[in-house]
């Protein structure tokens, strides 16, 4: 019976797969435009189901207004000022001396429009989608073609500070939901024609524009081709956020670890582009995806590169420590207090023993309980309106922390452990890695409660083995730690000074061009130049 069910599911999923999602819905197949303006208008109206925001403006153009034309757009997707001055005004004024519809059409297309981006189509289907995309189409009576004018103008968020990755030093700009704005943020940082932007339209229904960005000559063409191939493979009705895209193109869909880096910072995008990676930017999402992603990238903050390298290195070291703490601290507490009491110094173990004396739960229950409470508080803090955020912290700190302690439900040491774990997990700069750590903490705690330190070690060993098998677009996830690449250690745990970071990661196309010209260490001028100052 079960086998039948599995077979049915398989058959179902196969039949689904064979059919492109768009086909199942009521959209247009390839339909040529008609010579008759009224037919075209009717068809366009039909395509939009007479939506009230569809504007079909009949304009009389040519000599004495002898030729009928149609300007179609969606009311709120275009800049209306633009449509009236750059299109309608001009096609009425400029065509006053013309009588032949075909000439009118060509003249409009080639010279009259005050626009930079003008295209042409024969297809009604295309016309409808261009209108849906915020463009304006011009149709002329007697011509079976349409001019597509780029007139997109919809409200969008201003470029503002990135809220999920803030820095003290460094650019304060964050990506926004508009693809065009995001591309401009990137282009502005790399003003080089070699910066390539390839556009994909993903989502049969949503028709979301997605851009693949890389630098020709630095990015490995094999990796870029792989990205291109994975993107074009996606058949889905809509993409609303880059996270959806991530799940379609990642290397290890079942791994708890992310194999694509998501970021809200344009400087992080460009920094990675310059190291030979590519970025995928999705319209409607302020998060860019970067790949190939390696583990060390997730523990890197942009500030590491902007502060002087001593500070950058030490803070990064601190971040690695915090990563380990946030992963293992609760399980270490459980293992040590239930199996290895001999490991702690006597005063400390006595202090913990004194606190645990009245606690009704075993250490592992206490730990899991407190971790769940902490996760609840964190989730509540994210979901709640900002105004209520304070209420959460009061409940969290006072009610749960203090009262649970006083009620003897948890020990003070456990509260310290949970708090330290929480703080440590906030240190991880990329949230997607912090989430995996949050998840992995629980199995580790269970292992610790069953087998002590041995269990933690077994858990960490299998986690490490898993990490070693991971690849992101062909690049080993733990590179350059394993496989060890000596030359790249300059930017893993420690960050070498900029004048010493002369190599790109080894997966880039050509290693020959150095990032930094050699011998740029600032040093005092040579003695010859300053000799005999008195003379």
């Amino acid at each position: 019976m079960l086998r039948n069910l599995v077979r049915k599911i398989k058959r179902f999923s196969q039949s689904e797969r064979n059919k492109a999602p768009g086909e199942t819905r009521g959209t247009y197949k390839h339909t040529p435009l008609s010579h008759v303006l009224e037919v075209n208008e009717a068809r366009i109206r039909q395509a939009f189901g007479d939506s009230f925001d569809l504007v079909c403006r009949r304009v009389a153009i040519g000599k004495h207004g002898s030729i009928a034309a149609l300007v179609v757009h969606l009311n709120e997707m275009v800049n209306p000022q633009f449509v009236s001055t750059a299109i309608i005004e001009r096609i009425v004024d400029k065509t006053e001396h013309l009588t032949d519809p075909n000439t009118v059409y060509t003249q409009i297309r080639d010279s009259y429009l005050d626009l930079t981006d003008v295209a042409e189509t024969h297809d009604l289907h295309k016309v409808a989608y261009e209108i849906a995309n915020g463009n304006t189409c011009i149709l002329v009576q007697g011509v079976a073609k349409a001019i597509v004018c780029q007139t997109q103008g919809y409200s969008q968020r201003e470029v503002s500070q990135p809220t999920t990755e803030s820095t003290i030093r460094g650019s304060k700009e964050g990506l926004v939901e508009s693809l065009a704005v995001n591309l401009s943020l990137i282009r502005r940082r790399i003003r080089n024609p070699n910066l390539r932007v390839e556009q994909f339209t993903i989502g049969e229904v949503s028709q979301t524009p997605v851009a693949l960005v890389y630098i020709e000559g630095i990015a490995n063409p094999g990796i870029v081709a792989e990205a291109r191939q994975r993107l074009s493979r996606i058949k889905v009705d809509s993409i609303q956020e880059s996270g959806q895209l991530e799940e379609f193109i990642e290397d290890a869909p079942l791994s708890p670890f992310p194999t694509l880096l998501r970021t809200e910072r344009p400087d992080r995008v460009t920094g990675n582009l310059l190291e030979g990676r590519f970025a995928i930017i999705t319209d409607g999402s302020p998060f860019a995806l970067i790949a190939p992603a390696t583990f060390s990238m997730f523990l890197t903050a942009p500030e590491d590169y902007f502060e002087r390298f001593f500070a950058g290195s030490v803070i990064r070291l601190l971040r690695y420590l915090a990563f380990l703490l946030s992963l293992t601290l609760p399980s270490l507490y459980v293992a040590i207090t239930t199996f290895h009491q001999e490991l702690l110094p006597t005063p400390l173990i006595l202090s913990i023993a004194a606190q645990r004396n009245q606690i009704p739960f075993p250490a592992v229950v206490e730990a899991i309980l407190m971790e769940i409470v902490f996760e609840l508080l964190r989730e509540a803090g994210i979901r709640l309106p900002v105004i209520l955020g304070q209420a959460v912290s009061i409940i969290g700190a006072l009610v749960i922390g203090e009262a649970a302690l006083r009620a003897g439900l948890v020990s003070a040491a456990m509260v310290v452990v949970v708090a330290l774990t929480g703080i440590s997990s906030f240190v991880t700069p990329i949230f997607s890695l912090a989430i995996s750590v949050r998840l992995l903490r629980f199995p580790l705690m269970i292992l610790a409660s069953a087998l002590g330190l041995f269990g933690i070690l077994a858990g960490l060993a299998s986690m490490l083995t898993h990490l070693l098998t991971l690849r992101s677009f062909g690049v080993p996830y733990l590179e350059p730690i394993a496989p060890f690449v000596a030359g790249e250690q300059r930017d893993v745990v420690f960050r070498a000074p900029w004048w010493a970071m002369n190599r790109r990661p080894r997966f880039v196309e050509e290693q020959t061009d150095k990032r930094v010209a050699p011998g740029q260490i600032p040093r005092p001028p040579e003695p010859e130049q300053t000799k005999d100052p008195g003379r």
Binding site: L254, T338, Q341, T346, I349, L350, A353, A354, P362, A363
Partner: protein, 406 residues
């Protein structure tokens, strides 16, 4: 197909992990609150001739916390059991302690002197050596003239838990006097098993408490029966206790072994009758050599010490009499020499080669040791010793002259 395989693997892994949790039964799991932390173990002879074990347990809940005043309750409790063997006696603690007695945090093994009247220490050490729980870094000490039980009931000011307080005294004496030779169980076993050297243990004493000072507000003085201290050395031969070194003989031994860190040496003032001088030794190195020529064995002991002038009872003008400085150095050298000579004489009298003269021969001249070792008991008491002590005094403190009356 690949994802199917991965999925199956994941399912297997989860199944194995959950089984492991259930099947292992949380092997050797013990919650911290179910443990009674043993801080010190005392071993005596019971009236019936068995082993009497006294365990001092920490009482963590009485240790006070950051909040609220400390309770008047003592932070430890003491239990006594009997048994034919150490192991049995230890397990018998389970009849008294509601929590499982837990040894790894034990600091001290204390033996009553009486225990060694008729028997050696070996039978008592086997459990400590064999069982994984006790630490070999715990210190070993023998109580002079009292039982270990008395010592564990003694009280201390400032550090209410006597095991911790004893450790404090031990650390202080080791760092500032050198009149004690800090001995761990491992040191003891090493010495016992090694060729040509005899084991020693720290000496401890119970001091009966007679409250001669009354301070208002002090807590329950009348309840304190005894205090205790460490000092001196219990000298063993084989595994038998043969006698004691007093504090300064112990320091004499420590000079030879280079175990003196910082100490105070005092000697008669060279320029004034009945007045004395103390110097502070900042660091000292000690070494010895043993020469064997046919049947004649001689030991050469060399000690180098650097120190400061500590205090003088009679002022000296060092500018007018610079030779006094050298006299002070000579005086300190003489005092140290005397201590070393006393220590060696005491060990020779007890017939226990605790310095390790034999070990020196064994290591450097193993063939000669073969012929000597059977008669070492006769040779050792007669070994001639040359002692060469050099003291270099550097500083005179923060004043040039002593304060003088007008």
């Amino acid at each position: 197909m690949k994802s199917n395989k991965a999925l199956r693997l994941t399912v297997y892994l989860i199944a194995i992990m959950s089984l492991m949790w259930a099947a292992s039964g949380c092997w050797s799991r013990r919650e911290i609150e179910d443990l009674a932390f043993v801080m010190a173990i005392g071993v005596d002879r019971s009236p019936s001739g068995n082993i009497q074990m006294t365990a001092q347990f920490a009482k963590p809940e009485a240790m006070g916390s950051a909040e609220g005043p400390k309770s008047q309750e003592k932070p430890f409790w003491v239990a006594t059991t009997e048994g034919h063997t150490m192991f049995e006696a230890f397990r018998n603690l389970g009849y008294i302690s509601p929590k499982r007695p837990y040894l790894p945090h034990n600091n001290f093994y204390i033996f009553g002197e009486d225990l060694f009247r008729e028997m050696g220490i070996k039978p008592f050490l086997d459990l400590i050596n064999r069982d994984p729980e006790p630490r070999l870094t715990a210190r070993i000490s023998v109580v002079k003239g009292a039982t270990a039980k008395d010592l564990l009931q003694a009280e201390f000011e400032g550090m209410p838990m006597s095991a911790v307080a004893l450790r404090g005294i031990m650390n202080h004496l080791t760092k500032a006097w050198g009149t004690i030779h800090e001995t761990t169980i491992r040191d003891f076993l090493d010495r016992m098993e090694s060729e040509g050297i005899e084991p020693i243990a720290m000496g401890a004493e119970v001091i009966p408490f007679e409250p001669d000072i009354e301070i208002e507000g002090e807590v329950s003085r009348e309840q304190i029966k005894a205090r205790a201290t460490l000092g001196g050395t219990a000298v063993f031969k084989g595994d038998y206790l043969v006698g004691w070194l007093d504090n300064f003989e112990t320091r004499g031994l420590n000079w030879i072994l280079g175990k003196v860190n910082n100490t105070v040496v005092e000697f008669p003032h060279p320029g004034a009758e009945d007045k004395r001088v103390s110097v502070e030794i900042l660091r000292a190195t000690g070494s010895f050599e043993v020469q064997v020529e046919d049947e004649d064995v001689r030991a050469f002991i060399e000690v180098n010490a650097v120190g400061n002038l500590g205090c003088i009872q009679e002022p000296v003008d060092f500018i007018k009499q610079p030779e006094v400085w050298t006299q002070f150095e000579k005086g300190a050298e003489k005092a140290i020499e005397d201590e070393i000579a006393r220590a060696v004489a005491a060990l020779q009298r007890l017939g226990s080669d605790a310095v390790g003269f034999g070990q020196y021969i064994f290591r450097r001249k193993p063939k000669e040791w073969e012929s000597l070792k059977h008669r070492w008991d006769e040779i050792f008491p007669a070994i001639g010793v040359d002692i060469d002590v050099t003291v270099h005094l550097r500083g005179m403190g923060v004043v040039l002259k002593s304060a003088e009356t007008k």
